[in-house]
């Protein structure tokens, strides 16, 4: 099925996009509290050596997110 939006794991290394919304309320609570909001500029830095986690920058703040956490953040195309 074709999705109409992308999520953070779709970003290639060093690609940036703005966060739009969250897919999961519990994760949204955690991420917004950490300062990752709709409108935040997200840059993909790299994925973890063994996969399943991402190193990103959210408005310049470095964060590590699990696959599920990253995939719950919708970003603009």
């Amino acid at each position: 099925m074709q999705r109409r939006y992308r999520t953070v794991p779709d970003l290639k290394a060093h690609e940036s996009a703005r966060a739009l919304a969250f897919e999961d309320a519990a994760l949204a609570g955690k991420l917004t509290a950490m300062g990752l909001l709709p409108g935040t500029l997200i840059e993909m830095v790299r994925s973890a050596p063994f996969g399943k986690a991402y190193y990103i920058k959210a408005d310049g703040v470095r964060l590590a997110l699990r696959e599920e956490e990253a995939a719950s953040i919708m970003i603009d195309v």
């Binding site: 519990a26 790299r46 973890a48 470095r62 997110l65």
Partner: protein, 714 residues
Amino acid sequence: MRGSGEKLVRIALVGNPNSGKSTIFNQLTGLRQKTGNFPGVTVDIKEGRLRFPGGREAMLTDLPGTYSLYPTSSDEKIVAAVLANRLDTHFPDAVIYVADATHLEKHLLLLTQLLDLDLPVLLALNMSDTAAEIGIRVNTTKLAERLGIPVVAISGRTGENISKLISETEKLISGNSDRAHKRFYPLSDVEKHVTEAVCLNLGLKNQYQGLLVAHHHGWLPFLSAQHRSTIEAIVHDKDFASLRAQVDETLDRYDRFTPIVQDAVQHPPQFPSTPTDRIDAVVTHRVFGPLLFFVVMLLVFQSIYDWSTVPMDLIESFFSNLNIWLKALLPAHWLTDLLTDGILAGLAGILVFIPQIAILFLLVTILEEIGYMARVVFMFDKTMRRFGMNGRSVVSLISGGACAVPAIMSSRTIGNWQERLITTMVTPFISCSARLPVYAVLIGLAVPAKRVFGIFSLQSLTFGSMYALGVLAALASGFVMKKILRSRELSYLAIELPVYRMPHWKNLWLTVWEKVLAFVIGAGKIILIISIVLWALARFGPGKAMELAAEKARLEAARQHLPEKAAADLHAAYQLEASYAGYLGKVIEPAIRPLGYDWKIGIALIASFAAREVFVGTMSTIYSIGSSEDDVALRQKMKSATFDDTGAPVYTLATALSLLVFYALAMQCMSTLAVVKRETNSWKWPLAQFAYMSVLAYLLAWVVYNLFQNSAHL
């Protein structure tokens, strides 16, 4: 307020993780701090006395770092539980809110929540040194005006403005500071209805407190069951979607304080590129990252052994000299023995661990302080999650290679309760330094000094396998426990990767000091008690047994014309056999016979319960070479040992291997159990750990014994 009788004013440090709270706490309290266990949960709260220049004092509490009053882990829950309950013993009279001045736009959410709780708050803008360096300028006057609270720019690292922070704090608690803060977040209609009903039912005055109770009624520890169900009904009745409301509230708060920050903070046109990105390109690299981690851990390991040998030898020789000196000085009496062989030996057993614990925590804290640990968590999170653990567990497991006690204490950094529990439960499987002397004797005894394929020595291969066995057992039981334990708590990785910084030395020393103290007080007591009990078991026997044994030894020594030293050794051996310990060894012999052990090994097993390293010493006494320090002599004695009834040799390859497996896997460390009890706040977990580790050790030792026993007959 000065003087006795009156309650100390309580001030809490609140802030996001990594905002530098602990650094400021250390600045404000120095060594006047202690760590107390928070009742009912397992997170420690640090408290210390803050002394104002006028002589007045206040109690300063360092609450765990959290981003919001909507917590996602057990340590974050503490902050919400304390602040949502005005009757809590830790509820502060005033709050110092610590924020990172370099990322102020991300650090004020929690502050605005505190404002709505009507707490007297002071904003400490920390890391001002770094902010100035990268060209961030904060207009504190404007910020203070817009937020309606006092604001002080400080640096926990350079100590800049700390005295101003103290004087502002004093003003705050005297009610002399000008604060006029308004409510920050206007509740939505649903929130208003729910909150009004909750406040009415619980007799709360503060609206936001009511809202917090409504959100958290499921777990807040201070609510009675009746209140809980009343609130449940209210929430249900009003159709209150808690999670949704939390997110909306958070976003609304950002909308309100972001303009304030933008107004008061001037950013440089361009952020200078930091070394952190260049360092991380290597440190978290797909290939170099794990490789570097491996090297770092090897170095840590190596240092623990290298640097601790000298101080450990010094401690040991100090105590053995003190022992000899006291024995010569004091009359031969059981009280003397109690002092020397019981109490002093127990003390030595505690203190001898201190060098390793101090070095380990020094290194781990350095790695933590510079920001490396967050990267380890990121890299190994997936691997460890397979085994029911968390990225942070790697650190605990590796530390377990030195000593499980500090390793388990270091698992506190794991937020998720289940992951932390599993880490705590499996860490003792990792072969610690106390097992090394046991391995050395047994491997020397049973494994031929041959080489395989001409390169690998069979003995060092066996050594390596013992470590591998431990790691395997740890991971496998983690995997099993993950299937059994079910946690309602969500598990998150979401972690900030801080910029790399030089360690702050004062933080380092205070942390190491705190951990060593925790070990000496927490585990030390138990080791001391157990070693006194063991001493008594070995020193006294039923009825006249001890006197008879002494007489028998004297006659035997005379018959063989033994020199004085050998006679004394023989005496010690006979006495041990006749003592309660020897008696117990014989009692458990039937139980351990299937593993190939006799009652002499039984005594050593019982003695090893206090600490494994006792094995070698106990075996030496049993085989009456107590006074010689020599492994080789012990091995020869053990080689010629036979079973009392059948006359068959005891130490076959099968027995030795079975003993090795047993020592690798069994829970034989009272201090570890004590620490697990302390960290989990219940006897349930240490008992479960003791049971499953012992059962596993017994079964595998049995399997190994039978495998090799039978193959030897072939």
